[in-house]
Point group: C2
Chain length 342, copies 2
Amino acid sequence: MPVTLQQIAEAAGVSRGTVDRALKNRGRVKPEVADKIKKIAEELGYQPSLAGRALAMARRNVKIGVIQQSAQTPFMQQVYEGILAAKQEAESLGGNVDVYRINGVDAGRVLEIMEELKDNGVSGIALTPSEDTMLKKTIDTFAGEYGIPIVTFNSDVEDTKRLCFVGQNTVQSGRTAAGLMGEITGGAGEVAVISGHNSNPALNNRIKGFCREISGSYPDIKLVKTRYSYDDDWVAAKIVEELLLEHPKLKGIYITGSTVKGICEMLHNLGRETEIKVIANDFLEENKEWVRSGALNFLIGQDSYVQGYEPVMILFKLLLEDEQPGSSDRYTEIVIKNKYNL
Amino acid sequence: MPVTLQQIAEAAGVSRGTVDRALKNRGRVKPEVADKIKKIAEELGYQPSLAGRALAMARRNVKIGVIQQSAQTPFMQQVYEGILAAKQEAESLGGNVDVYRINGVDAGRVLEIMEELKDNGVSGIALTPSEDTMLKKTIDTFAGEYGIPIVTFNSDVEDTKRLCFVGQNTVQSGRTAAGLMGEITGGAGEVAVISGHNSNPALNNRIKGFCREISGSYPDIKLVKTRYSYDDDWVAAKIVEELLLEHPKLKGIYITGSTVKGICEMLHNLGRETEIKVIANDFLEENKEWVRSGALNFLIGQDSYVQGYEPVMILFKLLLEDEQPGSSDRYTEIVIKNKYNL
DNA sequence: CTGAAAGCGCTTACAG
DNA sequence: CTGAAAGCGCTTACAG
């Protein structure tokens, strides 16, 4: 039988309102009384009831805004599932979650939505930022002056007052790939990295983590110069063709981003798919298919669901229970999948 | 603004009680009225409020019992964390969770606790079963005659009326290990399996999955006869010593259960730890240390937290929301960890 | 077959 | 500085 506020009130000989004020340090309680109440709550092992609190707070109508960029990509679609689950949970607990999805990257639109949310009295915002000076400034204004906490997810934005970030530690993801590549190539031979855009910070971090770890831990592996597909499957296929001409004994390829298809198809056409070890990122249906078929040896993933779910729940708990997130970085699990645990 | 029962009642021109009865099919509502109400609820997109329901149900005081065997093991300690989190969540939503932990395996004690729980009016029980005829029968009696749903976790018990099982697909775990072993040995050479007790079904399933997959997918790998350490580190070390005498070119070892320490230490002493690939199970602190040191190449894990958290929440949701678990088997994620994503 | 009412545990004006 | 009261959304006897 959990202890209730009422029981504490009776034990302390005061009213529930007073107990509430004392426990929440809201002031307007004589210090001695407050101390006594706190002691009693402690002794009784008081755990506030989420249900009671949520119901009472429903009147305040805590509103949370979510802004997701690049929403059209399959990966962001998975993140969206997590957002929806959190929306559902928060709303069944009396909250209110409004989700805005933007196709492609559009900092201007993000700013517009932020203003709109503010005008509607939003209490907190979760968003996928993009590198943009104005956006950074606005995040600071919201988090600072307006007192509207901001949580970034999927990508982070440095040096701002955002409350916390939920997403992958991309450098570590690259290192994990390096560890796998080192093992499955027997720690020797030529290995190539094929990336997307050379201006994508996340991909560059993966490259960094991968290359550093290979150089450090597998000195007998020779890293071939990194190529960029600019997210074009045709370009990626072309790169593979050239790569194998220049390095006929190539033993492995690490794909930091998309164009898995272009690469795997070309390897298949050249009849090299089983012998060349390939590691890629993200658990998209298409990628999983390549793992099942054997063209891809491993897939490394970020927990997309968590990237959508957590930011909303962090804000909701903060707003409802005043529970601060533990740390300002919430790195999602780096998941390794092969054919058997997909 | 989520829709409430009240709004539906107003729209339908009836009282909240009637709406409730109609939506829950509790009967005692004129069919036409019930249909109308359901239609309105559908149109308005009614989502019941967890907070409201939980609070109202608090009066009924839904009690859930959890019985955990082998509670002294480090793995079960991790499972216990999950149980505690679920207990906390369910209780803050008005439930009541009583946890009983048993050191070692003791079906008799489980039976005693089950009776005790029943006498205390428990509404559902989560337990780690053991192979025992009486226990099986009792599970059926509870689930059938008494109408007390039973969820098994960590291990399952075949052919009973338990509602569902939460735990690892051990065969699949063995296959995942095989996929890794195949890759890191280059798909050729001698590989050994060292297991714990030869009567442990979970370990035997891992062996089965491992051996089948190796035979099927890596024909050039020669599987050496499986040895049993009976969970004794000294015995395990001895096994390694003999194994390397008989098979000096051994390329890999798959450890299905405990005795990681005995095996890794012996490999270290013999100076073979870097060259022989070793894959083991479970993310115990000790095991992680062996991965970091490089003696273990991979660790395969069951999601221990989920094994504790899910059974309680499945019962709680069933009791609170009448939400049936999706399937009768809830296999936890098979997780692969190397040095970098530990 | 249907409705009015009490109550779950909490928060929040409001009155004193 | 403190208390009494209303109300959040739901369920559940109870009365009709």
